[in-house]
């Protein structure tokens, strides 16, 4: 059983399209995150939800909208995709907010915008 699973693993799409990435965790964790890893491997947090409530919303374009239907799921919808959105997006979860517990990461979604 995969602890944190993301779908799809690869996503190739044209500029201007709208796409979604889904994330599910079966660890019973309360907190979930989206991170973006750029071409230089730099990881930057985008959003965090705790028990379906948004607690971190970094400076991310409004085209990115997270949604957490329940605490086991955190999806990321991206409108009007741009070339600069190409990156690997990682979902992660932890037992609670804050770094104490460390994170469990999904295997990532490689988004390529052409």
């Amino acid at each position: 059983d995969t602890a944190v699973s993301q779908t799809p693993k690869y996503l190739v799409t044209q500029m201007g399209n709208d796409k979604s990435i889904k994330c599910e965790q079966n660890l019973g964790h309360d907190t979930m995150y989206w991170y973006k890893q750029d071409s230089k491997k730099f990881l930057k947090i985008m959003f965090s939800y705790n028990n379906k409530e948004l607690i971190i919303n970094e400076t991310v374009p409004n085209r990115f909208s997270p949604k957490s239907p329940d605490k086991a799921h955190l999806n990321l919808h991206i409108n009007s995709l741009e070339l600069g959105d190409s990156a690997v997006y990682f979902c992660a979860s932890s037992q609670g907010p804050g770094g104490y517990y460390g994170y469990t990461f999904g295997s990532g979604t490689r988004l390529t915008v052409v």
């Binding site: 995150y33 990881l43 770094g99 990461f105």
Partner: protein, 115 residues
């Protein structure tokens, strides 16, 4: 706010040689410290963490890291590396207080182990 500096972007080393991956952090409050490893085309895996207590922490595969508060460092070491240790290693920090203490990552160090 916290920040992390990984001083080396790439570290090439021969198999069975020792290695040290350097990490320095900046924070005005107490922190938790972590090392994560990312193998090619995979997600990040927690390697080890410092929360409190003994400043020397170890992983199950032979890595260790030492928290040095005076030098604000958390360097990762292994006395003898294997080919399979080839990966990207990320140091991360979070504040001990505050419910939004998300992990702040360094830019990573690519460890290449050569035969």
């Amino acid at each position: 706010a916290q920040s992390v500096t990984q001083l080396d972007s790439q570290v090439p080393v021969f198999e069975e040689a020792p290695v040290e991956l350097r990490c320095n952090y900046s924070s005005s409050v107490s922190v938790y410290l972590f090392w994560y490893v990312q193998y090619p085309n995979q997600g990040l895996q927690l390697l080890l963490k410092y929360l409190s207590g003994s400043t020397l922490v170890e992983s199950i595969n032979g890595f260790e890291a030492e928290f040095n508060k005076s030098q604000t460092s958390f360097h990762l070491r292994k006395p003898s590396v294997h080919i399979s240790d080839t990966a990207e290693y990320f140091c991360a920090v979070s504040a001990t207080r505050g419910s939004q203490g998300n992990l702040i990552f360094g830019k990573g160090t690519k460890l290449s182990v050569k035969p």
